[in-house]
């Protein structure tokens, strides 16, 4: 995906910062709004170059809808995984089979890779150790049988099915 124009990137940064300002002041006083806009304009002028490469394209309705849908989906995955880890901790035999697996992702943007890495780490049982281009190295608390194979292709396929694919269908649309 190519870079958006400077104006579009600047405006996107201003909009995001102003929304954050609204959230932290929690006030619709006209003075607060005015200063918030002013500070957003100033801070965005210094930081828009590192903040975004897509600019206003990030505000596409389809992306926002997927992002809103992703939040409950992700929270549910987190609750399930936490219960799973609690079960492993409390079980008398402590059934863990830890190992480091390699996954491959279809995401291409940096922000998407960051979001995927954080989603993997925040769902207990899996921790992202390193990201190298489109390869993720992940520490898994219970490596399933399908991933314990000799052939690398099958191993990557099986571990990606278990870890990255469920998040990717959302993150691909949100971040590209």
């Amino acid at each position: 995906m190519g870079e958006a124009s400077k104006i579009s990137r600047y405006l996107y940064t201003v909009i995001v910062l102003f929304l954050i300002w609204l959230a932290i002041t929690a006030s619709l006083d006209v003075q607060e709004l005015g200063f918030g806009l002013l500070l957003s304009l100033i801070v965005a002028a210094f930081t828009y170059e590192i903040f975004t490469t897509n600019g206003l394209a990030n505000l596409h309705p389809r992306r926002i809808a997927y992002m809103i849908a992703y939040i409950p989906y992700f929270l549910w995955a987190m609750i399930k995984a936490n219960i799973d880890v609690a079960y492993r901790v409390l079980h008398p035999k402590r059934p863990i089979r830890p190992g480091i697996v390699k996954c491959r992702t279809v995401l291409s943007s940096d922000v998407g890779k960051l979001a995927l890495a954080n989603s993997i780490t925040l769902t207990p049982g899996t921790i992202t150790l390193d990201v190298d281009d489109d390869e993720y190295f992940i520490h898994w608390i219970w490596v399933p049988d399908e991933a314990l194979v000799e052939s690398e292709e099958e191993h990557v396929k099986a571990s990606s099915e278990g870890i990255t694919v469920p998040f990717e269908k959302f993150l691909k649309v949100i971040f590209g």
């Binding site: 910062l17 002041t25 200063f35 801070v43 903040f51 940096d110 890779k113 960051l114």
Partner: protein, 235 residues
Amino acid sequence: MLKRALAIISLLLIGYWIAQGLAGVPFGQDRMLVAQYYLDHVKEQTGAVNAVTAIVVNYRGFDTLGEVTVLFIASTGVGALLWRRKKQRTAKTEGSIVLTTGTRLLVPFVMLFGAYIFIHGHLTPGGGFPGGATIATAFLLLYMAFVQYEIPHKAFEKVEGAVGVSYVLVGLIGLAIGGYFLYDWIWQDWGFGVDNIGRLLSGGFIPIIYTIIGLKVGTELSGIIDNMLKEEVSE
């Protein structure tokens, strides 16, 4: 062994001595003499809701000017101690994509929040020093994530000097108008924001001074980080 035993015994003695001294202080009782005056008059005299800010910037503005000077001397001292002819960043290990992208996304928010802290100095806890430190944190993040990153030195030095001068200038205007240094002319003479107490545009010159301090502390701490992270390289 003997040294350690002696040190422990003398520390215990000093602790007992301090505890004896503190035992005479009546905790929980109303013993405020000056403080009661501040609490009673802070709103009408300074326009600030945050009494701490009003005391630090307004009633005892000299202290704050002194603190800013101390910080300036610290920054200059670090610069002087670490001064070399040619200094560069020599870090080699670039952060992973998670670190660099995370930093890119966080830096604008950290900066905005730093500005939020110092602009609300007269309303909420915080003020120029925490706000400036928060802004310096944003630059520390950039330094940690990117091996090549350097602050724009020219601009930073100019901002640092300009805001330092403008702090003294605000005080001198007060001297000319009201008769003493750091006299709050915006509140006392203009009455700007009198019907506005508790909202953003009030508090006399406190928001202005805190913006100045925030920028000064932010640029100075970033300069200290910059000085400490660089290493000498041979020609």
